[in-house]
């Protein structure tokens, strides 16, 4: 341990900021365990081993005929990518992923907003709203998907059909087995399961709106609707941008719900790109090809995460 340190940091001519000055003046006396790198190193080791390295080795594998069957992997250049771009199954699963993202993002953001507005406006029994709308988010995907696939969507005795029947409507919709409805049923399940997350983000944003804005508007005679349209919603614009970005990125990663509820069917009509990666790599043993398809997916995610903030900023500027 260091002994007494001078009260004032030693003056340094080249110091740029206060933090830099104090840090530099002490480095000489510090033991090696006090070096900044020692704090950062444990994270960097794990980060390097389990994120950076797989990212690089995956890129390498995508250029080979790597598989888990034990045969020697050969360097085949961009063949895997050429194959992927000409593979109709790759394109259809990529499209399913995009289609799911489009179908799920809109209701997930809108319903989340409506639920938050309701809870915030009512201000009573907050626990009830939190339990009913947020609690499903805390269930593992396996629980949610088995519940919906086994007891909600089966024809006849499933809750969905039973409720239709009690309402006097025609049951017998193939919720998960009919190509026209399977994706919508998966979207419905996803909204039920994860809308609570967006609900919470909106609720936090609403609670941050200064109360005096509403009080002033009320004194001016603005009704509830006008307060909603002219104060609340404009103030939520930034939050909506964030929620939208988060939601699109989350929806693009769809795998669990499809894999566990329809297995990608009927007739591969719901199979997302991640399931295609899984099938190629883990059941088809073509690790090299699976890596290439992963990178196509990664490219899509990168484009979305790089383009979205730009679009959001442009919209914000246009709104001003």
């Amino acid at each position: 341990m260091t002994t007494l340190t001078p009260a004032a940091p030693a003056p340094s001519a080249s110091g740029t900021g206060r933090g830099a000055v104090t840090a530099r003046s002490r480095t000489a006396r510090r033991k090696w365990t006090e070096h900044g790198l020692v704090f950062v190193a444990p994270f960097l080791v794990v980060y390097g081993l389990f994120l950076v390295w797989p990212l690089i080795s995956g890129l390498g594998m995508s250029l080979t005929s790597e598989n888990i069957t034990g045969t020697e992997a050969e360097f085949i250049g961009l063949d895997n990518y050429a194959e992927a771009l000409a593979d109709p199954q790759m394109w259809s699963s990529l499209w399913n992923t995009v289609w799911f993202t489009v179908l799920s993002t809109v209701p997930l953001v809108l319903v989340g907003l409506v639920l938050a507005l309701l809870a915030h406006q009512l201000r009573v029994v907050q626990w009830l709203w939190r339990i009913s709308w947020f609690a499903p988010f805390l269930l593992p995907s396996g629980v949610v998907c088995m519940l919906f696939a086994q007891m909600i969507f089966p024809p006849g005795f499933g809750l969905a059909d039973q409720l239709l029947a009690s309402a006097g409507l025609e049951p017998g919709i193939g919720w998960l087995s009919d190509e026209r409805y399977a994706m919508l049923s998966i979207v419905l399940t996803t909204v039920w399961w994860t809308v609570g997350f967006n609900f919470l983000l909106y609720l936090a944003a609403l609670q941050a709106v200064p109360q005096h804005l509403y009080e002033a508007a009320e004194l001016d005679g603005a009704g509830a609707w006008r307060r909603l349209l002219h104060i609340t919603l404009p103030l939520l614009r930034r939050t909506t941008g964030l929620v939208l970005v988060l939601q699109v990125l989350a929806s693009l990663k769809i795998f669990d719900q499809v894999y566990l509820m329809t297995g990608g069917g009927p007739d591969d009509s719901t199979r997302p790109i991640l399931q295609y990666v899984y099938q190629q790599g883990f059941t088809g043993y073509r690790i090299g090809y699976a890596s290439a398809v992963s990178y196509v997916f990664f490219a899509l995610v990168l484009i979305v995460s790089l383009v979205q903030p730009v679009l959001a900023r442009r919209k914000e500027e246009a709104g001003k």
């Binding site: 704090f39 797989p54 805390l138 629980v143 998907c145 939050t239």
Partner: protein
């Protein structure tokens, strides 16, 4: 009554009034709408519980009935006896607990290093970490799995845990928080002769308790519920986490719906109970981490 008391009372009543407006018809209809929506969200959960309490032969009856001829816990007893539910719950607790501890520890140390120390390459390394926010872990499954096979980590706790602990977004959140913490206290401790590790443990960490709790809560929930990675890296039922084991055993139940629903209720309950107990902290933690991640 003194003037102060009168003022106190009027202030208080006007405050409560502004917090809880009167029940106008507009507000009542909002309440009705909210109740209908709450019921719609609770319905699937109630249906799972109702089915799990029916005798096995009555689960697929139509028309709709919520309670069978009798209420029975047979399905729960069967599931508990036959399944490895306890084993998987323990696995999930170990995996989520260790992942949370390591994530908080590693990310907090890294964030301290990036905000409070100066060393060559600091900016470059921090940039490298930030770039990782854009990499979805799902992209890495194929190379990561082959790596796990080579390292002999398939079917082990570490195989599930290690790929989940270095989370760049959490470092970012903590860096943002540390940047806002005034340095006076730390500098005073340095003056008193404390080393960096002591300052880190006894000053920075306690000061950051709220944000650390938020990161921990977020990490625990997402690890507890993670499916894809544990599903890929465990094949031995003894090593599976709860969500994976549950799906794996599903085929074993066949069409015994009461037992399936009972196993789902058992699997879903722990986190719901924790939530019921710590609602405020969890809600705050999620809201904080969720938005700061961007």
């Amino acid at each position: 009554m003194s003037l102060a008391a009168v003022r106190d009372r009027t202030v208080r009543s006007s405050r409560t009034e502004s917090r809880r407006p009167r029940w106008t018809t507009g507000r009542l209809s909002l309440l009705a709408m909210a109740l209908v929506l709450a019921a719609a969200w609770l319905l699937p959960l109630l249906w799972a519980v109702a089915t799990s309490l029916k005798p096995e032969g009555e689960t697929t009856r139509t028309p709709l009935e919520w309670i069978g001829s009798r209420i029975t816990f047979e399905a729960y007893a069967k599931v508990w006896e036959s399944g490895a539910l306890l084993r998987w719950t323990v696995n999930s607790l170990v995996v989520s607990g260790l992942t949370t501890l390591l994530t908080v520890g590693l990310c907090a140390m890294a964030a301290y290093g990036f905000t409070r120390t100066a060393f060559r390459g600091r900016k470059l390394l921090y940039g490298l970490v930030l770039a990782g926010i854009m990499v979805p872990p799902q992209v890495l499954i194929a190379p990561l799995f082959t790596q796990m096979v080579r390292m002999g980590l398939v079917d082990t706790y570490w195989g599930v845990i290690l790929p989940q602990v270095a989370v760049p977004a959490m470092v970012f959140i903590l860096v943002k928080f540390f940047e806002g913490v005034p340095r006076e206290l730390e500098e005073a401790a340095f003056v008193d002769g404390a080393g960096r590790w002591r300052v880190f443990w006894t000053i920075v960490m306690p000061l950051s308790r709220p944000v650390l709790a938020a990161v921990a809560i977020f990490t625990f929930i997402s690890t507890w519920n993670n499916f894809l990675w544990p599903f890929l890296v465990t094949t031995d039922p003894q090593a599976m986490t709860l969500p994976v084991g549950l799906v794996n055993v599903q085929s074993g139940f066949g069409v015994r719906y009461a037992q399936i629903m009972a196993s789902l209720v058992i699997a879903g309950l722990p986190l719901l109970l924790v939530f019921a107990l710590f609602q405020r902290q969890i809600v705050r933690g999620i809201a904080h981490t969720g938005l700061a991640g961007q």
